[in-house]
């Protein structure tokens, strides 16, 4: 038995199932699936430029006869939705499983959409594990279902399943031969004539899957007291087992299509039926449509996670139900000192800090994007106006300019990271040129995909397997799409950066500024000698606090730098008006 996260168990399960290809774009909470799959030499693994390409690679692998695993966070499935809805028509050759890692509670996401809806909309089965052992067992079953029913499978996990660790029994890798590749345009060329016939196959497949749902081991009943019966999926199974130890449980490991007979029989044998599912009433709506009396979202919230204490609290208000002796939900007593929140911050030495310091100073409108730099929106930097989705910044800036005019564009920038730019910013930049926008796009090139934990991407010159490869030249790419003004600048050279931004904003044509410096956490070359504050020279103006560095703290009227955290980026020294901040060992204190 080995203690594994859900993500590690999915990678292990895929390996055991004979998977030969794993493609993905990093995104919390899905990233570690692919990182772990890449450790198996039998699996070709890649970071794709975005989720759409990742799924297309998986589809190609499947058609060619291999088993393929494709992984992404929930919002990534939006990007991959185009190939997804059509591979649902073509079906597969080698098994194809798409992992969607949803994030109820939005621990690290911009929304909390419930991706089970994708399964229903694309008419493909949805499988949901509740712990790491099931992650491994169910992913293997998912590949069998995929091949048996000629369908891609949506494997839906949530943050708690992805990132919780539990014990898993390991097995050997199955010896799965590649399926024969036979050219079959009627199945794989989805032009109208073929697609019409395939849609018929999809509907027939769905009927077969409905029958399968009634008998599969993925769905199971645990009979106890029949006063109440609870239908659960994913992590809520674990919570309900603990909160309602006496309740009968129908655990659905496959939540689309639903087993009508099984649910109807379960409902008939219990006095009161509940569905406890996080986010949308996905199971509940269908059960209700079958005219079965059921409680769900009338009691439990549709927002955030359904943590054990939330479930306990709702049932404590219904005394007929035996609830385990969980302490009642209690907030901090009123006599407790107030605990201020601790939001995430840009790391000490983060190169983005230099840029946001300048943007804040210039009081420009900033169309933002997704990455570590989204933290530039928080106080004290406050240097971001919008964040919608991956790659949105450039399109957003164009729209703003088109509404408010060229003058507005003289105070408007789009900011986007290197990995995000390749993911889906390049198309926005093409649009800037094509549709005659004049905004300035700033690419924050920190040489990695930072927020998700330092994955490589096409601009870093390294693959997921650590092989060096020719890197995308972002400046050349910008020029190639027609941007004539392209400047590279070090974001810690704030004087030059400020001058460059002013110049490019003034220019009435599209321009690209690339702020290039390695993420502080992977920069092992720069001088990291910590800075310190010369107490007598410090006048207590606190200008250095405006850069939002977590190492600088107020001590009385003056400031101090924590030398254990400081990465010696020197930005505070640059902004200090009296020269009170310097590097240790550089001057006499």
């Amino acid at each position: 038995m080995k203690l594994l996260t859900g993500n590690e168990a999915i990678a292990r399960g895929a390996w055991e199932a004979g998977v030969v290809v794993c493609s993905a774009y990093p995104g919390t909470p899905s990233t570690e699936i692919t990182e772990n799959a890449a450790k198996y030499e039998e699996i070709y693994a890649e970071w794709s430029p975005n989720e759409k390409v990742a799924l297309e690679v998986g589809i190609g692998a499947s058609i060619a006869g291999g088993r393929a695993l494709v992984a992404m966070k929930h919002v990534g499935v939006n990007v991959a939705a185009d190939p997804l809805f059509t591979v649902a028509y073509t079906g597969v050759n080698g098994g194809l499983v798409l992992v969607s890692a949803d994030d109820p509670g939005m621990h690290s996401s911009q929304n909390e959409q419930d991706n089970r809806h994708f399964g229903r909309a694309a008419k493909i089965p949805v499988i949901e594990p509740s712990d790491s052992q099931e992650c491994k067992d169910f992913i293997k079953l998912a590949f069998e279902i995929s091949e048996q029913f000629d369908t891609p499978v949506l494997f839906r996990i949530t943050t708690r399943v992805a990132h919780s660790q539990s014990l898993v029994k390991l097995e050997e890798r199955q010896n799965i031969e590649l399926k024969e590749y036979v050219k079959n345009p009627a199945k794989y060329v989805m032009m109208p004539g073929n697609a019409r016939r395939r849609h018929v196959a999809v509907e027939a497949r769905l009927e077969k899957l409905e029958e399968f749902a009634e008998t599969t081991s993925l769905n199971k009943i645990e009979w106890k007291d029949t006063k109440i019966g609870v239908i659960v999926n994913g992590i809520t199974y674990q919570y309900v087992k603990e909160v309602l130890p006496e309740a009968s449980i129908l655990k659905l490991g496959m939540t689309f299509p639903l087993p009508k007979k099984l649910i109807t029989e379960f409902a008939a044998k219990v006095d009161k039926l509940y569905v406890i599912e996080e986010l949308d009433p996905f199971i509940e709506d269908t059960v209700r449509a079958w005219n079965i009396d059921v409680h769900g979202k009338d009691i439990f919230p549709q927002i955030g996670e359904l943590l054990p204490e939330v479930i306990a609290e709702k049932f404590q208000a219904r005394p007929s139900v035996p609830v385990s002796n969980l302490a009642p939900k209690e907030t901090q007593p009123s006599d407790a000192p107030e605990a201020p929140i601790r939001p995430p911050v840009l790391c000490p030495g983060c190169p983005h800090r230099g840029l946001f310091y300048v943007l804040q100073k210039l009081k420009v409108t900033v169309a933002g994007d997704i990455g570590c730099y989204t933290l530039g929106s928080l106080p004290p930097l406050n240097a971001m106006d919008t964040t919608i989705c991956m790659g949105a910044s450039i399109g957003n800036a164009i729209g703003m300019e088109k509404v408010r005019g060229k003058e507005f564009a003289r105070k408007l920038v789009a900011v986007i990271g290197d990995s995000t730019f390749i993911h889906s910013g390049i198309t926005g930049l093409i649009n800037t040129v094509y549709n005659k926008a004049t905004t300035t796009t700033i690419i924050l090139d920190n040489r990695t995909t930072g927020m998700t934990g330092h994955q490589d991407n096409p601009a870093t010159g390294m693959t997921i397997k650590g092989e060096p490869i020719k890197e995308v030249d972002l400046a050349l790419l910008a020029r190639a799409v027609g941007v004539e003004r392209v400047v590279e600048v070090d974001p810690f050279d704030v004087k030059k950066l400020e001058r460059v931004i002013k110049e490019e904003l003034a220019a009435e044509e599209p321009s690209v500024i690339i702020t290039k410096r390695k993420c502080a956490l992977i920069d092992f070359e720069s001088d990291k000698t910590p800075c310190f504050v010369h107490e007598e020279t410090c006048i207590g103006c606190k200008i250095c606090l405006r850069i939002g560095c977590p190492c600088i703290v107020k001590v009385g009227e003056k400031v101090k730098i924590d030398p254990t955290q400081c990465n010696g980026c020197n930005l505070c020294a640059v902004v200090c008006p009296t020269g009170a901040i310097m590097k240790e060992g550089v001057a006499d204190a």
Partner: protein
């Protein structure tokens, strides 16, 4: 359900809470118990408030510790100890590292650091222990071993043989840091708490 022991490890991103939970879960696995661990990655890593939940016993279902159900809170920072206090059982134990790390709202002046956090915790929980683990780690040879000092103190209060801890420590920590970490562990284990 069989008895489950709930341990909440809280701190600030970058303080080494994750290694601490890895060693703890390794230890309980070694004595043959079921264990579940839950932690949140992603945004929280960037200097935010972090929490790891470790639950062990003969059989564990949920990886999440409900409010008011933690047997022990191991807090790497004072404000974080205060923040997670509602998760502690009435008669629960709490180990607080006497270290202050200002969150950004305190740095910018939008909020004040709660000065009375430790005395408040001590007034509410008889089994509260406060140590300067950072200083002890520096004494042991590396400030980064603060987490292992705290783990040493936790070990003293759990019913698991010390040898098991040392064995897992050896398996988890890279050889070149082992000596410092054993020193740090011993310092925590033999401290007054």
């Amino acid at each position: 359900m069989p008895k489950v022991t709930n341990i909440l490890i809280v701190g600030v991103g970058g303080q080494g809470t994750i290694l601490a939970s890895r060693i703890l879960s390794g230890v309980v696995q070694k004595i043959g118990l079921d264990v579940k661990v839950s932690e949140i990655h992603g945004m929280a890593q960037r200097g935010g408030s972090v929490v790891t939940q470790v639950r062990y016993g003969r059989e564990v279902a949920s990886p999440i510790i409900p409010l008011g159900q933690a047997d022990i809170i191991l807090a790497f920072e004072k404000l974080e100890a205060l923040r997670w206090l509602p998760y502690l059982k009435e008669d629960g134990g709490i180990i607080v590292n006497d270290q202050r790390i200002d969150p950004m709202p305190v740095v910018t002046g939008a909020a004040a650091y709660p000065e009375g956090a430790i005395s408040y915790i001590q007034s509410k929980f008889a089994k509260a222990i406060v140590i300067d683990a950072l200083d002890m780690a520096i004494q042991a040879g590396n400030s980064k071993a603060t987490n292992v000092v705290l783990l040493g103190l936790l070990a003293k209060h759990l019913d698991i043989a010390k040898e098991v801890w040392l064995e897992v420590l050896k398996e988890t920590v890279p050889a070149k840091h082992l000596e410092t970490n054993i020193k740090a562990f011993e310092a925590g284990y033999s401290s007054i708490g």
